[in-house]
């Protein structure tokens, strides 16, 4: 098991954003996380990535190591990388610099040699830049390398957020609604990019996504959250026929047949 989360909870005031959620993800798996708005999906990501601390009782193991309560940069340095729903790209930095920041943990020079500017630093900088240019080419942003990231279009920003997360060379990549707001054509393109990145770098993926078709088509297993609780987990086929899921998504009033038709797209 690559990621083992047990008993994660997080309250905001009286609201249980995530309550007692377990999440076990195998190496190489693609896991989908779905649930209605406000069901705690992003909060779960924030807990895993160390942005929030889980409440006492929660534990997290990654690659066999206990990483419960580590700060975000420590979690990142273990090989867990994520994107944000609101992207949070560094808009005043160039596209290439965004990736270089993500790649920082793989730099092989220290602060002192950086200050003096030794040839080894220049060589390492060249290596990093070349590698990140490769990655940019892979996600289709190479032409924009020196443009401030804030000037990219919405779709390009989504790609950049993905690229920055990939620049960390993670073992586990967590994507928070990577395709939100994209046109159907671009959703497919993005998905293709994600899958080819997975192939190329041997990633494990956790994807939060509202577009059910994406989840159903690509994920090995799907976890469903509602009101912060895990209400179902299984293969896409199992999830499609799960009553709880259907209710959670569309309320009790709708007929099951309508819902199934909807879920199948």
């Amino acid at each position: 098991m690559l990621l083992e989360v047990t008993g994660f909870s997080k309250h905001f005031g009286g609201l249980a954003a995530v309550s007692n959620v377990d999440l076990n993800v195998e190496e190489g798996e693609i896991r989908g996380i779905i649930g209605p708005n406000g069901s705690g999906k992003s909060t779960l990501f924030n807990l895993i990535s160390g942005v929030y601390r889980p409440e006492p009782g929660g534990t997290m193991y990654f690659d066999g190591e206990n990483v419960t309560n580590l700060p975000p940069h420590e979690i990142a340095s273990r090989g867990i990388s994520r994107t944000f729903q609101m992207l949070r790209i560094f808009s005043q930095m160039t596209v290439l610099e965004n990736l270089l920041v993500g790649h920082q943990r793989h730099t092989r020079y220290g602060i002192l040699s950086a200050i003096v500017g030794t040839p080894a630093v220049w060589a390492e900088e060249r290596r990093m830049r070349a590698e990140m240019m490769d990655l940019l080419a892979f996600i289709g942003l190479a032409d924009y390398a020196t443009m401030p990231a804030g000037e990219l279009s919405g779709g390009q920003r989504r790609l950049l957020a993905l690229g920055r997360a990939m620049a960390m060379r993670p073992k586990l990549l967590m994507l928070d609604e990577p395709a939100a707001g994209l046109s159907p054509l671009n959703v497919d393109k993005l998905l293709e990019t994600v899958l080819s990145l997975k192939e190329r770098f041997g990633l494990t993926l956790i994807i939060i996504e509202h577009i059910l078709k994406v989840v159903m088509d690509t994920c090995d297993l799907v976890t469903v959250l509602e009101h912060g609780e895990k209400i179902a987990e299984g293969t896409p086929a199992e999830i499609k026929d799960d009553h709880h899921v259907i209710e959670a998504y569309l309320g009790k009033e709708m007929k099951d047949a309508d819902v199934r038709a909807f879920l199948r797209g």
């Binding site: 700060p71 940069h73 790209i89 560094f90 920041v101 920082q104 020079y109 003096v116 630093v121 830049r129």
Partner: protein, 343 residues
């Protein structure tokens, strides 16, 4: 040293052209050093040579402030106090303990760096205006402590701080002192270029824009905040020591008041906050303007304050940013036109 400003934007795709760029950089530095070496001989009088020394000291100071404020985005008003700590440490070591300048300077830098780490502690919890207030509090208490402490000369200041000597030669003219200040300023600028173009510089910019995203990208935010404060303190300590040992070797607590901090902020903001050249351009322009308007001292702060506000509102990237935008934007407009707006 003119080919540096827009280097950050040079396409990395053209990695093949690197040796050419390196040669250009080297040439630029050689030319820069050449010009700087003869500059005081072109000055018409000793006062102008004093002004040159002052400009270079302010360059050191502003480059340091730009690291912590411009790049790392930490709104500190404590920089001037760090300069005071550098100046007083150096002065006390030289006058009371007989330290030669060459030992007093590095000691002062070390002490100031430590003080910088302390000034940086509030930044772990505070941001923006609150951080400014906290650092202002620290800075003022340093100044008041000095003003009230007899050992530190209290409100009289410290006099007869010895100038540096080299092979028995007292460097007590503004001309000879220039050759102490200039290499240090040049080294400071060079180191800042190196730092800011490395991982460290990118980490600073990332934590300025979005500390949370930076942390999620693997950056230890507290470590880099502390580093930014310590680095800027190294510059402040060096500038302080240089100011103390410059003829007539006199320092006074009133040189480290809020007004001086405002002037310092103006340098960084006008020059281009977070621009690699920002502190340099700003220090040169502001020191000269400050000197030209000395007769209107009463209005200076009013005008400087207004210029800060106007700059922040209407040209937030300062002079450096305007130069950049002029060069860089034109390239992208062309690129955009050629590509159309994809996605």
């Amino acid at each position: 040293m003119t080919a540096h400003g827009t280097d950050e934007a040079a396409p990395a795709a053209t990695t093949g052209a690197k040796p050419v760029t390196a040669t250009r950089h080297l040439l630029a530095w050689v030319a820069g050093i050449g010009v700087l070496s003869v500059l005081p001989w072109l000055a018409v009088n000793d006062y102008h040579r004093f002004l040159l020394d002052l400009i270079l000291i302010n360059v050191i100071l502003a480059v340091g402030l730009n690291i912590v404020k411009g790049f790392a985005g930490q709104v500190t008003v404590g920089h001037i106090a760090l300069m005071a700590i550098g100046a007083y440490t150096s002065a006390i070591l030289a006058t009371k303990f007989g330290f030669p300048f060459w030992l007093a300077l590095p000691s002062a830098v070390l002490v100031t760096a430590l003080a910088g780490a302390i000034v940086g502690i509030p930044s772990f919890r505070l941001e923006g205006a609150y951080l400014a207030l906290a650092t202002l509090g620290l800075a003022e208490s340093v100044r008041i402590f000095i003003s009230a402490n007899d050992y530190l000369g209290a409100s009289i200041g410290i006099t007869d701080i010895p100038p540096p000597s080299l092979f028995g030669l007292r460097l007590d003219t503004h001309l000879s002192y220039y050759y102490v200040v200039m290499p240090l300023a040049l080294a400071g600028v060079y180191f800042s270029f190196c730092i800011l173009r490395s991982n460290t510089g990118r980490a600073f910019k990332a934590l300025r824009e979005d500390p949370l995203a930076a942390a999620a990208a693997g950056i230890n935010v507290q470590k880099y905040k502390t580093l930014a404060f310590v680095l800027s303190a190294v510059y402040a300590g060096c500038a302080g020591s240089l100011a103390a040992h410059m003829t007539p070797g006199f320092i006074h607590p009133n040189s480290y008041m809020l007004a001086e901090m405002v002037t310092l902020l103006l340098m960084v903001i006008l020059g281009g906050i977070g621009h690699i050249w920002g502190g340099i351009i700003g220090a040169i322009v502001v020191t000269i303007v400050y000197d030209l308007t000395r007769d209107y001292y009463n209005y200076q702060m009013l005008v400087f304050g207004m210029v800060i506000v106007l700059t922040v509102m209407y040209m937030p990237t300062g002079i450096g940013g305007i130069i950049d935008r002029y060069i860089v934007t034109r390239r992208f407009v062309a690129l955009r036109k050629a590509k159309g707006d994809a996605a």
